[in-house]
Amino acid sequence: MFSSFRLSMTWVHTWFGLVLGYVLMACFFFGSLSVFDREIDRWAIPETRYEPQPMPSFDKLLLPIFKAIEPRQESYDEAQKEVHGPLPPREKMVAGEFGAYTTHRDPVLSMFSSFDVPNKPKNPNVDHVHVFGGVTIDPRDGTAISDDKLKIGSRFFYPLHYSLHLHWLDLGYWIVGFAALIMLVALVTGVVMHRKIFREFFTFRPKKQTQRSVLDLHNLTGVVALPFHFFFAFTGLVIFAGIYLPVTGPMFKAQAEAHEKIEEERTGLPHDPAGVAAPLASVDAMVVEARRRWAERDMAGEVGFLGVTHYGDANGYVSVYRAGTDRVTLTGQGIHFRASTGEVILEDPQPSTVAGIDDWLTGLHLQHFRHWLLRWFYVLGGLAGCVCIATGFIFFVEKRKRQHARSGSAGVRVVDALAVAAVTGMLVATVTMLVANRLLPPELPARGDWEERIFWLAWLLALLHAGWRSAPMARAQRSPAWRAQCLALAVLCVAAPLLNWITTGDHLFKTLSKGYWPVAGLDLVLLLSAGIAVLVARRLRHGEAAEGVEQENPEASHA
């Protein structure tokens, strides 16, 4: 089909990269924002702007709240579709499992419970169906944070980067998974295509013609951050491997069940409830014991995850995990107690080599550790990925625009309009959401849903604008939509910190002098982005003016 290996690799890189690039752009950008998801949450929910808190007392504070959690309506409706016969009434359901997870960056505590469903599942491969419920609290006094307030960072941008919020048939996970696979392919084919990977390692020549300088930038951001790109695409696939290859469920059901039985024998942690009621001993005492044992191992630390399995049953047990603040792994050193007596059943042994590597790969991507330099490096890596993808689009267009203009093909016009929407349009939608967050009335019911609608609407408008303004592409000129959206972005990026000041009183002088970085940091990044957007818009205007001259006087460009 192709005359050389390099040409066939070029074909794969170009076409797969183009199609999946739009998805990867969103994955890389919203993934970069997710590095500071908790901080974005603080900006978006001003009543949670206080210092991170440790795990509060289970006995006094958490248990009554756990017992009061009701199943979420959507989760209940979802489960109803998956089982035979009607479910028990929602408010009568009994919680069998509790969990609370926190990190060194969380002032609020996320709590969830899982409710047992007695009905037989329709899918013969599934043992049990569960219904879930959850609440977010202020751990200082247990007050619930309203679900109407959307955690824009951790509940919108973060899931957007791996699910695209496309839940029908889990389609979002599959699209992102496929895009991650193509990312790996694009990295390998990109290295094959690149003739001067070492000689041009440090090369960026912005004064050369656009096609050359964007290719420089594409190669530079792709090559220097190659390990980052590779590891994040790869670990993303590892994290969701269970969805793509469900080996512990449907694929090898018998083996999976046998494995569960062996695990139960090995660990002494009951897989099923006994069906006999039993009380719950003091969990606070178990936490004290767990911390004592960590300190004994010279790994003193805070509680990261606290869970109760088979609550209220004689087989119940409590698991206390150490927060992985100083490690790449999320949590570890789990210690498990018999719920009714508080005696230790099991102290997790050192993970096997394979499990250790898996934990490291997962933790590397999910990054809940305390290391601000590394967190910013991740943002840098993610944004380098965005630049790499965006310059890929521009190179594609630059290379073909004259030829397409001559032949009257609309190909690059469509690609360019989509690229505008995927690059500046995505930024406009993101900041519009922050602006909407500050403008919507505080007590608006389902406020978060409105913020989400405004985000998608802004993105859609950006796409329509890009399509509408794309006519100059037919004459091989640059679309003015790029510049217009940069200017819109600059306005929005100034509006967001101003509105934050007006609505909360937390202006930059105050947040900086108090050293409250979650809000100060986001405000500063927004202002910096406004500055960059203005510079880019000015540069684009010069470019458009030069093109105009070229159009009137074709020889001028060769002078």
Binding site: R199, F201, F202, T203, F204, R205, P206, L220, T221, V224, A225, P227, F228, D326, R327, V328, T329, W360, L364, F369, H371, L373, L374, F377, Y378, L380, G381, A384
Partner: protein
Amino acid sequence: MRDVLMLAAALVSSAGGMAWLALAMKGHWQQVCGGAGPSRAAVLALRTLGALALTASLWLCLAVDHPSMAVLVWVMSLAAAALAVAFTLTWRPRWLRWWALPWSAAAAG
């Protein structure tokens, strides 16, 4: 505070290492110092220094964090340093002349 200083030193070391590796290339040397490019002895010295600086950076990272985290910090510091050196070469190449000093002085003298 000690950790912050050690990590800052690791960053400087990565950036210096990348600058030396870039200067060992003829095109970049000419951007920074002009002239005919580095002598063969200078190329060898620049490459050795570059490799040593990057190794020193790894060693500094390992002294601050658990090895499982230190390798991530180091790899990312290399990426950041390479970008910083590339953009310096684009817009302010003369800034890198300090790294070329002994050899550029020898070439000039």
